[in-house]
């Protein structure tokens, strides 16, 4: 295995790991608030669960990029393509948007979700507004995901 492969796979791994860590922290933060609310009012389980689930998507985006990368370099089909070191660096860099933004946006989305859950606890009818505020954070993870996809797609192998 050449250095190019090492770099490309490291990029994919980082996308999964960092975005995954972000989601773990985000969902956990929101989950702690959610548990507090449900302890008081079990009927709110549905709406707080929805809010808790939102920071979970970044981890999925990270995994998505890893799979797209694996498809690109032929790791899934069993016949890996030849990569130069430069191509390896390119693929590594292409993974960075979702890796870094996934990490940060999930953590902060978790905090927003947590605040929104506190809002739902006080006023149940505000679930929709809390959902919207929380989704605002995710926009940048979606943009990073798209950038990563387009970059990987555009790199010539």
């Amino acid at each position: 295995m050449e250095l190019g492969h090492v770099l490309a796979i490291s990029g994919g791994a980082l996308a999964v790991i960092l975005a995954g860590i972000g989601s773990v922290l985000g969902v956990a933060t929101a989950g702690q608030s959610a548990a507090g609310v449900v302890a008081e009012d079990p009927d709110k389980f549905g709406s707080v669960l929805l809010l808790q689930a939102l920071p979970g998507t970044q981890g999925i985006y990270g995994m998505l990029i890893a799979f797209i990368l694996m498809g690109k370099i032929g790791l899934l089909g069993g016949s890996p393509a030849d990569l130069t070191t430069a191509q390896g660096w390119q693929l590594f860099a292409a993974c960075m948007p979702i890796a870094i933004l996934g990490l940060l946006s999930a953590i902060w989305q978790g905090k927003t979700a947590s605040a929104a859950i506190a809002m739902v606890a006080k006023r149940g009818e505000t679930a929709g507004k809390g959902l919207t505020m929380t989704v605002m954070v995710e926009t940048y993870a979606v943009l990073a995901l798209l950038a990563s996809i387009l970059m990987i797609n555009g790199i010539q192998i």
């Binding site: 689930a53 939102l54 998505l64 799979f67 929709g128 979606v142």
Partner: protein
């Protein structure tokens, strides 16, 4: 497609008819009683009114406390004798007479609840007792080998008799120290251990008191106190265990009694609903303006049903006065919407954001097609579309959901149909399964032509944002502000379309004519905007300044349109995860057991993919409506119409 017109109702009746009138209103279910403050009766009325109110409040509080008792009873039953509910259980049907009958005989049922409460109290007492008994056992266990009744643990004439503990870590050194004294006037017996201390029984002659206490002090020997215990430790443990057994038996007995009482569960549920209905009505009563003999009720009723409403009441009650009025032009009234059945579910999406206010257009008709389309593009898988359509259809048919759940199910059903359509257009069938079996996309495959897909998403965005501006323009024109429509929307249209033509003309090389037209439109639009956007400023410089500043809004337009790239990103997510599941399935599927494993992976994997992306599609298409679309025109802030009606939890009312 609109906000329903409302009539203001003023109703005056006689006190003795009050119950009858309110019951009729509640069963008709189409009048919202205005709050006491809105009734305009708080000031200027006299003390009689306050008196009437407080009495009703007491009645209301009594019923509310009964409701919480019933709730307690149901909770207790669910704790010890949970009902196994099936997935497709429907609520039992009852009629209002039955509810009324249950309400009248509520004291019998509440007696059962007090019985339940008594049983729960005994359960708590037993738990407390058990804790105490367990503590005793724990305390006695280390002393089990001590074969002397604890009450006889006393000094004799010449000897001292002691039971005590030292730290377990110094046991050996302690024993050595005693041994080193070389004195046979002391007897020492090592007993059991607690967590970090070891127990000893010691007898020694009083003549060596000084030496012994020296050793004891050195090893921090602490004498144990057994006040309140009589027998040998072993006996005490056995007796306590006996008591614990008995307590367990009593507990089982009580739980059985609770379980036996569970056959009144249905009565409790009925009473719960009956009390809910009663509370709603009592709360309405609390909002009335009352004198000794009469009362005034003010509220809102949908204009279409107003005549029938007043006729029904007049037929049932002889002495009644009802006046129906149109609201004043700037008076806020509660908002109820009326839409085509295909649009109605989407009201829920708008309600999550804000209820439209009574003076604006109901946005749902314009929003619904966009919502369904975006939902479809984001799910983007024909196979999933079919499965979701079937699931949502059966959910609605079998479960007969009501209210918001029904609307949500409707949104998902319609969204699922669009998921099928867009999945087929972009060639998504359970991930890449379609391509494997040779089903080609109707239009193109987004992952192969990402730039084309992005362009398509941005085009959707432009159309959606323009539609939002269009609704605002329409509202402006309808209210006679034609100049506003021309300046605030028309000029922006010219400007934006100009920019787009300019860019597209350059990029796609569609020739000079298009680019030229674009340039002219952009410049004309920009000039127009600079001249008009500051028109409400007084100072001429301020006019131009805020006009020029308004051009900065173009960044807002840009970010709005770029936001639609999420359509592509989320659509791709569904496709790629689906493809991965297929590959995982293909890896194991070789022998017959491999096939079974593959089937399990595919079912679980695709199920997971559907759920995750359903969440994403729902929240992100909502967001596109709230931020990008509603931001252009929607004001919201209306108060939803909440008529006094029969509202139940455990049963459905069938008349």
């Amino acid at each position: 497609m609109a906000v329903i017109d409302m009539k203001k109702v003023t109703l005056i009746g006689i006190q003795k008819d009050k119950d009858n009138i309110l019951k009729t209103i509640q069963s008709l279910g189409n009048l919202e009683v205005s709050s006491f403050e809105e009734q305009g009766g708080a000031e200027g009325e006299d003390a009689i009114l306050e008196l009437g109110k407080s009495q009703d409040l007491a009645a209301l509080e009594e019923i509310q406390s009964q409701l919480s008792q019933v709730e307690f009873g149901l909770d207790l039953m669910n704790q010890y004798n949970p009902v196994k509910s099936g997935l497709f259980d429907t609520k039992p049907q009852v009629d209002t007479q039955e509810l009324a009958r249950v309400f009248d005989s509520r004291n019998e049922i509440l007696a059962v609840v007090s019985e339940l409460r008594r049983l729960e109290d005994s359960l708590n007492e037993i738990s407390l007792n058990e804790t105490r008994l367990n503590n005793t056992i724990m305390q006695m266990e280390p002393w089990e080998k001590l074969d002397i009744p604890l009450s006889q643990l006393e000094d004799t004439l010449t000897t001292r008799v002691l039971a005590g503990t030292i730290s377990s870590s110094s046991v050996q050194r302690f024993l050595d120290a005693i041994h080193d004294m070389g004195n046979d006037l002391i007897f020492i017996q090592q007993l059991g251990q607690t967590r970090d201390e070891t127990c000893f029984f010691v007898v020694y002659h009083k003549s060596i008191e000084e030496e012994v206490s020296q050793v004891f002090k050195e090893f921090a020997f602490s004498t144990s106190n057994f006040a309140g215990f009589e027998d040998r430790p072993k006996q005490i443990i056995n007796q306590t265990k006996e008591k614990l057994n008995k307590a367990q038996k009593t507990r089982d007995q009580i739980i059985k009694e609770i379980t036996d009482l569970s056959n009144v569960r249905r009565d409790l549920e009925l009473l719960y609903d009956a009390l809910l209905v009663e509370i709603d009505r009592q709360q309405a009563v609390h909002n009335l303006i009352e004198t000794h003999h009469t009362f005034v009720l003010r509220g809102w009723v949908p204009a279409k049903e107003a005549e029938k409403f007043s006729q029904t009441l007049r037929d049932r009650v002889k002495d009644i006065y009802i006046k129906l009025e149109d609201p004043d032009p700037d008076e806020d009234f509660p908002v109820a919407l009326e839409n085509h059945p295909f649009i109605t579910p989407f009201e829920m999406v708008t309600d999550l954001y804000s209820t439209p206010n009574p003076r604006e257009l109901d946005p749902n008709t314009v929003m619904a097609p966009f919502y369904a389309m975006f939902f479809g593009i984001m799910m983007g898988d024909a196979g999933y579309g079919i499965i979701m359509t079937i699931a949502a259809y059966f959910f609605i048919k079998k479960m007969k959901p009501k209210g918001d759940t029904k609307k949500l199910a409707g949104v998902i059903l319609i969204g699922s149909i669009f998921t099928f359509i867009w999945g087929a257009i972009f060639g998504g069938w359970f991930g890449d399964a379609g391509t494997l079996f040779g089903i080609n996309p109707i239009w193109f495959n987004p992952s192969e032509e990402p730039i084309k897909m992005l362009a398509f998403c941005f085009a959707c965005g432009v159309i959606h944002v323009f539609a939002g501006m269009g609704v605002k323009a329409y509202a402006n024109i309808k209210e006679g502000r034609i100049l506003d429509a021309i300046f605030d929307q028309g000029l922006w249209y010219v400007f934006y379309i100009g920019i787009i033509l300019w860019l597209i003309g350059g990029m796609a090389g569609l020739g000079q004519a298009l680019t030229q037209a674009g340039k002219i439109m952009t410049i004309a639009g920009a000039v127009g905007l600079v001249l008009t956007q500051g028109r409400d400023k007084k100072n001429i410089f301020a006019k131009f300044f805020s006009g020029a500043l308004s051009l900065y809004d173009v960044t807002g337009f840009l970010s709005d349109v770029l936001s639609y790239s999420r359509l592509f990103a989320l659509g791709l997510t569904t496709g790629v995860i689906g493809t991965v599941m297929n590959q995982l399935g293909a890896m194991v599927g070789a022998k017959w057991y491999g096939w079974i494993l593959a089937a399990a992976i595919l079912i679980v994997g695709h199920g997971f993919n559907i759920v995750i992306n359903l969440l994403g599609a729902f929240v992100h298409s909502s967001r596109l409506q709230y931020i990008e679309f509603y931001g252009k025109f929607f004001e919201g802030g209306g108060k939803a119409f909440r008529p006094l009606r029969i509202r139940t939890k455990y049963t459905d009312i069938n008349n």
